[in-house]
Every structure is written in structure tokens, then in C-alpha cells.
Symmetry: C2
Subunit: 323 residues, 2 copies
């Protein structure tokens, strides 16, 4: 049996997958909920008004579900180029502590800006335990590629005026991890020094979506389903451009140590392990962590597995900043 | 929808999974072959004669498919306790080179002994580039648990009479990785010093088979399917005994640095990442590597991805032996 382009096909029968007993009770409870992904009627790529309406709806829902800001933090807003950056200092971080986590938010390239960026940025800064710059980058439909990347690179460049590169770690989740990796690739290509490390959580590294787990984990992943939003972001640019799909970057030219995190049910597991292999092929130190039965969103921050993920990121940051 | 024990169930429809374009051409060719697993009529656990006949058949097939012995190697047979050990010195290893890879062969706890152990041991010694002790341990139906483990621990103990523990790395694939991990746990519990490292390739770490990928990757993995052979091996012992299912070991009591290797289609991906998490929870240095679309058997040694796996193992060994 083959596809229309002659590719062999494996036919899997209908299957019933029980909630595994191999994860924490909290994670089992999340998995027992079944699919959590919003499956809106996606607008056509040529209908910006419909996208604006949809994004406002999705952002409204996301904001209602956003984590509380947790412990107190100082938040300052600065302008960098054409974007706003939230400079977040969790309580307990000494004023003279020069380390900065440059956080690039997720949201499928279309969501997560504005107030969500601020609230999630505060939450993330507490979790990683570091002063953070959270970039409220521009997004489609009004600002397609490379606007978001321009803003993230501008933020990194602005940070380098205040900090040594070894004091900076760049990181993100999902589309934010895509932008984090692309930011580092482009900064390197523009002759900027590399940061001390990169945190890539369930990264979208290949916008052509050739990864096997886009097929094998479809329906198993309780959060991520196919969406045209990456195409809205790419706006007709070649999806294999490394600034859109960092998997295709030339890592032999240099890349900082990286930590990559995913789950066995993550549709982006392939994107994660393929980038891990590409980094390792170039002898870049790169640590891979994969959680049992975790989807793209992990366990929504409600399970001990999510705390383990935070712990690995903190250990990675401590190593980056110990040099 | 729930299972008979009340567990929520996710129902997946029939699916057609194309061979992914995200792996090497050689790997695509392997995947295009479809299922490669032998699916014999498994005998009842109480029918040793039928098992002997089946194992002889499976071993005959395996021997015909075994790799050539490659470059020349010196092979010496020694007796350790009640088992034979092949001491394999690949050409190019200096006589005074004291490093030894204690190799514990795979084969679902029932296969891979005798001549297959010798031939595969030579192949493995060349791949890892080290003198190897390949343990031809006793197996069911005549020698169930703990005979195999007794033999592997005896080999480690014999090796410690000739070598410093830092000169030894223990490793295996599949059931061999189960025994490698169990050997280290039991050696530790018996007060022996830990080896310099452990290589665990697509390890069976939980013989209760609670891992999620036993469900999610079933049918996607082209090699491994459920079999009663672990039960034949366990012979009624508690499957949660750490010497049978090393995942349940107490790693806080000590374990050497480990490398764990699997694939996104491996039914033992869960066994692999769960052990990785258990080691990391105990702050054991443990490197995880997962190959895109690779099943339990990788790509049968015929794809560049398999060479990458060998390269990671060699780099790990170099680090273990550099200390």
C-alpha cells in the first residue's frame, strides 16, 4: 500500500489506548480528560479579519486559564525596536545578579502576546528562578515572518549591550522554542556572540511537519493538532529556511549548549529528537529529556512530571551559568 | 469509555502512516518493508519441549542473519561459574589496554546464546572499539531467573579480580540491557564497586509492561511484539523485583553514569525514558538519545542512524574511561 507520491504506508487498525499506570496520579487524571485541544474552524490564510477575531477569542480563553503570577516579582516594560519587552525580576533575585533568561513565549506563532506574555513571563521567571526578559514580539496576521524573529533578535542584541553573552540563556516553548533557536542562528550569522545556552521545550523545529510523530502521535497528543498558523506566520517564505525551521540550520558553524524536552505522546517529539540529533552530529552538547506519556503541553503544569521538567531546566541553567 | 478495571480509554481510528521522509533513504527502505517481527505460535509456559524447539528455530534464523565477524579479532573462551564467556579482542587493541566492555547479549531472555553470542559479540566489540567479555549466560526454559543474572554478576565479579572497576563498562541491548542494569544493581547490593558506566540500548526495564509505548507504538514498531518469554524467564517471581525490572531499583543508593538509547517507534521507548527519569531523579548522570522513527531494532544496522548510535556509545565510553 502506498501514498499518492509512492510512499509505503503502514495501516494501523482502530485502537483503544488506556490511560497508562506508568505516570503520576495527577498525570493520569489529565490523560483521562481526553483531547483538550481547541479545534476551531481555521480561517483561510487570506482572511486577516477572521484571524484577528479567532486570535482574540483564543487569547481570551488562554488568559482565563493562565497561571496566577505566583510570588511577587518586579515587572518593568521597555521598548526594544518595535516590540515591548517585560523585564521580570522575581522576588529573591539580587539587584546585582547579572544573569538573564531571554524568554520567547509560545502560542503557535499567533497567540500569547500582550497580557498573556506578561502573566506567563512572570510564571516562567519564577519557575526558572532567574531575571527574565519576556519578548512581546509582533505576530500575524498583521506582522508575519520575519517580524517576530526581528523582534527577538533585537531583544538579544539589546541585552548584549548590558550583559556578557555568558550571562544570557535564551529559551522558549513550542513556537517560542522555534523562535529561540532561530534567534540564536540568526544572531550567530550576524556575527553576534552566542549565549551561554538554549532551552528548547517541545520545539517546533520543522515547519514542513515531516516529522514522524506528526503522524504517529496524532490523536494521542491531547493538546496539539494540525493548524495553518505556521503557514500564516511563514507568509509564503520557504519553510525550509533555517530561520523558519531551525532544524535545517548549519550547526557546524556553532551553537550553544542546549537542553531539549518533550514527551512520548508529543506530536513534536520528532521535531525535538531530530534537532537533538542535528546538534549532536555537530558535537554540540545537547541534553534530551522525554517524559512518559506527556503530550505537547506536558501535564498542564498540574503533575509532578512538570516539576521534574522545571528541575532539569534549572540544573541546565546552573551549569550554563557556572562556567 | 473505560477498561474493565475502570481506566479511561482513548479510541484511535484506523490510520495510515506513511514512511516518513525525515529519516535516511536506507532507513526509509527498512520502514517500507513493514513488520519484520517473527510472530510464532508461542508455547505455553508449562511446555519446555515446545520452547526448546521454538528457540532452536529462532536461533537458527538469527544465526543466518547474524553479522559477519568483520575485522579480525582474537577470541578466547573462559568459564566463569556455570557460564562461558567469550573474551574478544578486536585487532588494533593493544595487549596492555586494560579497558573491558562487559557485553550482555539480547534475545528476549531466551535467544542469542552460544554461537550467536560469539558472532554478535565480535561484531559488537568492533563497533564499540574495545576488548569485550560477552557472557553466554544460561537461559530458560532450563535455566529461568535468576540463572542469567547469576552468570552476569559472576562475570562482573571475575572481571573485578583482573581490573579496576573504572576500567569496566557494562552494556547490553533489549533483554541484555535489562540484565546489564540488573547486574549493576545486584553487584552494588552485594557490596561490589560500580563500573565506570552502563550502556542501555532499547532496554526492557519494566517486565510488567506498563509503559505507554507498549500500547502507542504497537504495530508501529516493526520488530518487537508482545511475547511470553519474559514470563518464562521470570518463572513466577514478582515482576516488580528490581532484579527483573530494574526500573524499580533504588538509584539513590548509587548507580554509574548511563547512556540510554531508543527510537520514537520503539515499543520500549517508555521503558527507556522512564528509567532515564528514575536515574535523573537520583541525580545520576544519564544521557538519553532517541532516533526518529526507529523501532526496537533501530534500522537493523543498515542505516546511517545506526552508525550515529554507535558513535554516541563510543563517545560515552571515551568519557567513562577518561576519568
Amino acid at each position: 500500500m502506498t501514498t499518492s507520491d509512492g510512499r509505503a504506508v503502514l495501516r494501523l487498525p482502530t485502537r483503544e489506548i488506556p490511560v497508562p499506570a506508568s505516570v503520576s496520579e495527577q498525570a493520569q487524571a489529565i490523560l483521562a480528560l481526553g483531547p483538550l485541544a481547541p479545534t476551531p474552524q481555521w480561517p483561510g490564510l487570506d482572511d486577516p479579519d477572521a484571524w484577528r477575531t479567532l486570535i482574540a477569542e483564543l487569547d481570551g480563553t488562554a488568559l482565563r486559564m493562565a497561571p496566577g503570577s505566583g510570588a511577587p516579582a518586579g515587572v518593568e516594560e521597555i521598548s526594544v525596536g518595535r516590540a515591548r519587552v517585560f523585564v521580570i525580576t522575581p522576588e529573591g533575585i539580587a539587584p546585582g545578579d547579572r544573569r538573564v533568561y531571554l524568554e520567547i513565549h509560545g502560542g503557535a506563532f499567533i497567540q500569547g502576546g500582550g497580557e498573556i506574555c506578561r502573566v506567563r513571563g512572570i510564571d516562567n521567571a519564577h519557575r526558572v528562578g532567574a531575571r527574565s526578559w519576556s519578548v512581546d514580539y509582533r505576530m500575524p496576521p498583521d506582522h508575519p515572518f520575519p517580524a517576530a524573529l526581528d523582534d527577538c533578535v533585537a531583544a538579544y542584541r539589546a541585552l548584549l549591550e548590558q550583559r556578557d553573552p555568558g550571562e544570557i540563556v535564551v529559551g522558549g516553548v513550542s513556537a517560542g522554542a522555534n523562535l529561540a533557536a532561530a534567534t540564536v542562528l540568526r544572531a550567530r550569522d550576524e556575527g553576534l556572540p552566542l549565549p551561554a545556552g538554549v532551552v528548547l521545550a517541545t520545539p517546533a523545529t520543522d515547519l514542513t511537519e515531516a516529522g514522524d510523530t506528526w503522524q504517529t502521535n496524532l490523536g494521542l497528543d491531547n493538546l496539539l493538532t494540525p493548524s495553518p498558523s505556521p503557514l500564516l506566520y511563514a507568509a509564503g517564505h520557504d519553510l525550509r529556511d533555517p530561520y523558519l525551521s531551525p532544524l535545517f540550520g548549519d550547526f557546524g558553524k556553532g551553537f550553544p549548549p542546549a537542553i531539549l524536552l518533550s514527551g512520548t505522546r508529543d506530536v513534536l517529539l520528532s521535531d525535538t529528537v531530530r534537532l537533538h540529533r542535528a546538534l549532536r552530529a555537530a558535537d554540540i552538547p545537547a541534553d534530551l529529556h522525554v517524559w512518559e506519556a506527556a503530550s505537547h503541553g506536558g501535564f498542564l503544569g498540574r503533575a509532578p512530571e512538570d516539576d521534574e521538567r522545571t528541575r532539569e531546566i534549572r540544573l541546565f541553567l546552573a551549569r550554563c551559568w557556572a562556567v
